[in-house]
């Protein structure tokens, strides 16, 4: 972090009760209170949310894009992990 930039926070907004918080972007702020206020001012001006989470970006541990091959490709040929091989009885609707 440079001396002239405030720390970065990731912003998560819950659009309505019962739904998940979704990542919407990030804000700069000097503390957690300011991050909430900035998130409110930047990301909920058009009634986008009913709840805000902010997380210091530095606290997020991310997977390394270089390792994407070893992390994700082994799943590619394992279609049997999808639950699509079951016979569904006629009587069951809406599945």
């Amino acid at each position: 972090m440079s001396a002239t930039q405030w720390p970065l926070y990731e912003v998560f907004i819950r659009s309505k009760g019962g739904l998940d918080h979704k990542h919407v972007g990030s804000v700069h702020a000097t503390d957690a209170n300011m991050a909430i206020e900035h998130a409110r001012d930047v990301y909920t001006r058009r009634m986008e949310g009913v709840s805000i989470w902010v997380v210091p970006s530095a606290s997020i541990v991310a997977s390394d894009p270089q390792e994407a091959g070893s992390l994700f490709e082994p799943a590619r040929d394992k279609v049997y992990r999808h639950p699509t091989f079951y016979e569904i009885p006629e009587e069951v609707k809406n599945l």
Partner: protein
């Protein structure tokens, strides 16, 4: 209204109009001042934050000036009242027409008004004037957020660096002189209070001073004594700054009457 003297009289439309203009003009002029920050704030997030504040105050002004137009009964719209009155006809507090100064001065001005509005709208939402009560109930939620925003900033600036403390204290020392006007009851205040329309200013003053003293202390700032003698905007007696605010705000409608888009 709770805490107010028993209702003893109803007031004339002229008195009610004057009271509503005080509230509406205060919100309008502050909206215009805050709008000056757009594109100039210290960070993108603050730019939006101050712009949001400005829009909240503009929303209050629209409701209040529309109500004023209806009370007046001369078929003047909110726009007519905002853009076609001259300085002496404005009834806003002198505090809100003061220049933005640095960010600290803007925050101090904002906090003084937010502390006032939280107390005012809380009381006013129980007003016997149903129109004012409805506007106050809506505006109270905005004011509570504004108070959170400005008091948090005051803590950061006051209890921040040596420079931010010095500048913020200077703003407190300068702006405090414009605050007695908020609580000095004149004829309009006394009549509307007696009619159960407006809250008792002595109670409002006590709540404001307690709130401001608490936040200033936490922000390691000292509370100066308010000097008397500043112009009293709510009676149409303004500082030199209002004219410049109006010149910019009203230019378009004065130069191109009726222009719209």
């Amino acid at each position: 209204m709770t805490g107010a003297p028993p209702v003893s009289a109803s007031v004339s439309d002229a008195v009610r109009l004057d009271y509503v203009l005080r509230l509406g003009d205060t919100s309008l002029i502050l909206a215009q001042r805050l709008g000056e920050w757009v594109g100039h704030a210290p960070a993108l997030e603050e730019d939006l934050g101050l712009g949001n504040l400005a829009l909240d105050f503009l929303g209050q002004a629209r409701l209040l000036l529309s109500l004023a137009g209806r009370i007046e009964g001369r078929d003047r719209s909110e726009d007519d009242l905002a853009f076609l009155r001259d300085g002496g006809e404005f009834r806003n507090f002198t505090l809100v027409e003061q220049p933005n100064g640095d960010f600290g001065q803007t925050i101090v001005r904002q906090f003084f008004i937010d502390a006032y509005q939280v107390a005012l709208f809380g009381a006013l939402s129980a007003s016997r004037d149903a129109d004012l009560a409805a506007i106050a109930a809506k505006a109270l939620k905005e004011a509570q957020y504004h108070h959170r925003f400005s008091s948090h900033w005051l803590l950061r600036l006051g209890d921040g660096t040596e420079e931010s403390h010095r500048r913020t204290q200077a703003a407190v020392d300068w702006l405090m002189r414009f605050t007695p006007e908020l609580f000095e009851a004149d004829d309009i205040d006394r009549q509307t209070c007696a009619a159960g329309i407006s809250p008792d200013l002595a109670a409002l003053s006590a709540a404001w001073h307690q709130d401001v003293a608490r936040i200033l202390k936490e922000a390691t700032l000292s509370m100066p004594k308010a000097e008397r003698g500043a112009p009293v905007g709510k009676r149409g007696d303004h500082s030199e700054y209002l004219g410049y605010v109006l010149a910019e705000m009203q230019f378009m409608q004065r130069a191109y009457p009726g222009a719209s888009w």
